[in-house]
Subunit: 364 residues, 4 copies
């Protein structure tokens, strides 16, 4: 079950970076949803390698095949199996890595935990496993979209280059986000970010950054306290992504510097609806969505693979030196944007169905 996520809209992913294929099975999808491979492909294309000059040059079409669960263009309620064949597998690039542990990678922990690992491209620990998440997330996003939700992730910071807060007040459009390869909706900042990424790449180095994700149109009531609070499941979803090191919702860490009298979101009646004047809660109160915008940030560390010599040890624990090879993103954050959206969609759809099951199946 470590490779399954969700309770009612439940996905199970499989596949290694350089194995024959990568895939996902979705169990519990509502029936009669019109869906096409092209719609899923559109999201996969957003995370695909080689889409711009700041991403890895690995060439993968990441072409998705629907193997079950869809009949004449509509979901049937049975499991939806999606598969992407791996094509551009240059395992030779990893020969050296079979013999030594790459620093800040999963080589050592996988080897020790399982006593065996597929070293090619990182095997299962490769970010290619997120293909299944994005494919399943595309379906979740479509359902949520029909329900009036809009999910938008974008980069707010790369290294120390940060978009100004005032540029992010409005909910950015998809076009604004997709306008640049770096997926920061503030054009000037985006340009600086791209420049920085190219600069560190030229030095064989890497950088990380922060993704912000916002969701509007969330109904009041999603989230299942005490353990499956909405923010708890979002945090888990985000920290389950490769390279993530932090999550914060609403005011987050900065909010801990405020007093209660400054931090509380007062209620008001706006146009006949109960709303909060501010949104330091980030859209959740008591673990349940309150109808305001969901706002959360995710921290991504700098890519572990760098094209520089690094000290490490070999499988026997003896000192060794590794020079990064393979084709890697100097900054994974831009390609992580659609992945963050996918995970958010999976959490929200699952919670929507859970809330409905308990609270709308019966009317007493």
């Amino acid at each position: 079950m470590p490779n399954s996520f969700g309770h009612l809209f439940r996905i199970t992913t499989w596949g290694e970076s350089h194995g024959p294929a990568i895939g996902v099975t979705i169990d519990g999808c509502p029936p009669r949803l019109p869906i096409s491979a092209a719609e899923i492909q559109a999201e996969l294309d957003r995370r695909r390698p080689g889409q711009s000059d700041i991403t890895t040059p690995r060439k993968e079409a990441d072409s998705v095949e629907i193997l079950s669960g869809v009949y004449e263009g509509m979901t049937t309620g049975t499991p939806i199996a999606l598969m992407v064949r791996n094509t551009d597998q240059r395992s030779s690039a990893y020969n050296e890595m079979k013999a030594a542990f790459r620093p800040s990678h999963a080589d050592f922990t996988y080897q020790t935990k399982f006593g065996i690992r597929d070293p090619n491209g990182g095997g299962r620990s490769s970010a290619r496993e997120t293909i299944g998440r994005v494919a399943a997330g595309a379906i979740a996003k479509k359902i949520l979209g029909l329900g009036g939700l809009e999910i938008r992730a974008y980069i707010t910071r790369v290294h120390d280059i940060e978009a100004p807060a005032e540029a992010l007040v409005e909910f950015p459009s998809l076009a604004e986000v997709e306008a640049t390869a770096v997926r920061c909706p503030h054009a000037a900042t985006a340009a600086a970010m791209i420049e920085r990424i190219k600069a560190v790449r030229s030095e064989g180095d890497s950088v990380g950054g922060v993704i912000q994700c916002r969701v509007r149109g969330v109904p009041v009531g999603l989230g299942e306290p005490v353990f499956d609070r909405l923010e708890a499941d979002l945090a888990k979803a985000m920290l389950s992504l490769p390279a993530t090191k932090g999550f914060e919702i609403g005011s987050g860490f900065a909010g801990t510097r405020l007093r209660g009298s400054e931090h509380n979101d007062l209620f008001e009646n706006r146009d006949g609806h109960i709303r909060t004047v501010t949104n330091r809660s980030g859209g959740v109160q008591g673990g349940i969505s309150n109808g305001e915008e969901l706002v959360f940030n995710v921290a991504f560390k700098p890519t572990a693979t760098i094209l520089q010599a690094q000290a490490t040890v070999d499988l026997a624990g003896q000192p060794a030196e590794l020079m990064g090879k393979g084709r890697h993103d100097p900054c994974v954050v831009p390609r992580a944007v659609p992945i963050v959206e996918a995970m958010a969609a999976l959490v929200l759809l699952d919670h929507w169905m859970r809330d409905s099951a308990q609270n709308r199946t019966f009317e007493f």
Copy 2:
């Protein structure tokens, strides 16, 4: 299942702030563990109200009763039911809150989600629900302790008063943490924190802060990628706690400002073991523990209940004003320290058992 946590060492909690009792059932506890009510009580006493002059004066003995699963002082492998009777219930303090939604509380979301709520003391959304977590965590901690793990949480910041980094290099002792009511192991900082908490209380206000938790002695191999990464389950555990707004592991948000060449943890052979020179990973790589210290931070917002008049709306959505009453902590963070430890213990024990099941049941 929203009130259950864990897969193999699985707890289910129940109970409202002002109901007859609060409790927890632990399913899957290993048998033949010597355990007494007194050992569980010791942890409960750490989170109990009224333990110092900076916490709520609500008087609750929080006396635990073992109802099943223990025979002649040893666990039997059957479900362990633990119960704490509520005694000091002054529901009258909440009369006013039945009619209006407290800002930044769960009143509005519970009412809207379920169409009903127990308003006394916040009902199920009260932090009293963490009693069950702490009670179960006490057993988990004992098992982990026998396995050589040591879990230590403490406060690093209250409002803007922060312990100096150099004071936290060493793993603090339990005595150092418990030396002051505020549970910051750096005495001078602790004194300043207490002063600040008393000051804001005198103004009817509140503050938040940050808890750091470290675990040493963690074996290599805990964590179940891709979704049940150790840090993902820790993040979920922490964000499932009332008043939390953020989680970061290892370098966290600050690490996103480093380059890969600065951030990577190089491997070395130390005393015959494969270790990392630095620990920006925070003890996990690829979602699996690497044998280094687990280090993570949790952000707690300022207490929502303040003894000041606040604008809000009533159940009909009409403008109202609320003046906080009841007995509340001006800063919940000190009492959250044992709760964070309990949740960490629950995650680690569950993962230990999961790892063992897959990787140590069979030898091929």
Copy 3:
């Protein structure tokens, strides 16, 4: 989780036969259901010992206490904790059984599996653990009843005394079932059954029998293939009960003696509804309810405890002899009737909520 059952309406039970108490927590109960302790007590009274002269004379009030999840007589959507204190615990009757394994009981397997067991009254393996199931089932039954479902279990056979098939064509009323202590709705057969039970008891022996359960008013569509077919979950529910050895639905084992042309249930249009002419399917087709009556049988072995000397071994594996003591039912089947109904209710309600979540949350 071995002590939890259900996915969305999920119960967790705890407690030993001679421990302080027995209980259950229900997670996921729909909110705003009016419920009282008296309604739950009514079902508990049906399974209670000492209710007639053919059951064990153990005197237990089995008085239920609602500890959480109900506010002013209505469920709140939070966990409902129910507890029954044990009162009549004569553990001394079990002293002898601490030293030797009772034949066809769980003493040996518990001892070997866990390395420890609570020997008093069988500890967790006692049928007293079904108190939690019946208490939770009472709530499930009420919800299903409001939804138009009627669940009726009754005895069709004790030892070799069987009710005539023609007497069971009509759906028996609750009054007909409860008319006799043996809960067979056919009066003449019931009298013979009671006579038989008294006869074997006078010989210190025991008998088993068969319970049939029928449910009418089931909507079309409950059941989640391929693994969580409705009959699969019913089979699991029934085989999870102490003393059960078999389950069959619809035509069951007898149906395997028919040809397809004899066995198939032809469809017809009856009063504007698609119905089957016969019901050899027992109300399920392809694992999903088809709107016909659910009909299934459960086999209960003769009570393992008999008041005769039996050969066995002691804890060291040495030959020993045991003479059954304690207070036991010479035939558990009559008291199992409300338990079978409770388990059926738990399965059906959980499936109703699951079906609703997937198929009625969204309309595309």
Copy 4:
């Protein structure tokens, strides 16, 4: 999750009868198990159509492809994805069935539950979905075999032709079972069964029967009371199979005709081990394996598809007549033998890992 089975060794199946492919993902498989596609194929070949003159002539190679989780011939602990492409899809045979509901099939219930169905070959409700179970079961069987367990299923009855009890006293060898197409280890009975199957086929009719499954070498201690008793999970596993109507373990329904004094399995010390003299318990006591042979029976109804005209209704509920077409087994029971073994293996392996996790991870 309705298409997932197991907790720690967990499978998720997908695929429709006439879709592009059928598959399964195994999550939680122990690492370092040597496994090849050929070993899995061997089990698939046992359930494959067209393997004898008493099965459907549909020609399917059912050739399995390993897509992930195996590296250089060894499992890696990551998800194992297995896929079988469908090749012989004559959907035209089902044109008529799109318009009317086949009696005793899943057409009506799927259509009503989901509002849509894939009518070709029964879509997801086809027995072809068991391919995934058998493929995963092959791996489970291998692991169990290395652990000393032997699982043997065979037919004891077809229609009213039953193997004599004395012929089944000994644990049949695989060769004895596979000696005939009907998989009854008693040659004379097998011949009669084959004759009967051919006879009913020539009349366009069908028959059912009973499979017995025995497992030897089971360690004491498998089974997780109170809900996940070993027999409860076996019952669920078996009733989750298409066409099953009943399950009994040990003495089963017949045992209810015995007295306790006749039914109890007395303990004895045999060669230094605690054993039972008889095995009416069927290898489980208190829901936990007791080291004796597991013995259970599964009832399979006659194949619903018969080549005779049958009255039914169309999608609008109007009277219609259907003449069975397509290629079907006149008796599904022989091909169900490896499927029953597969499900038994999945249950036992999962329980072995669960037992190990709780009872052998720690030694206090």
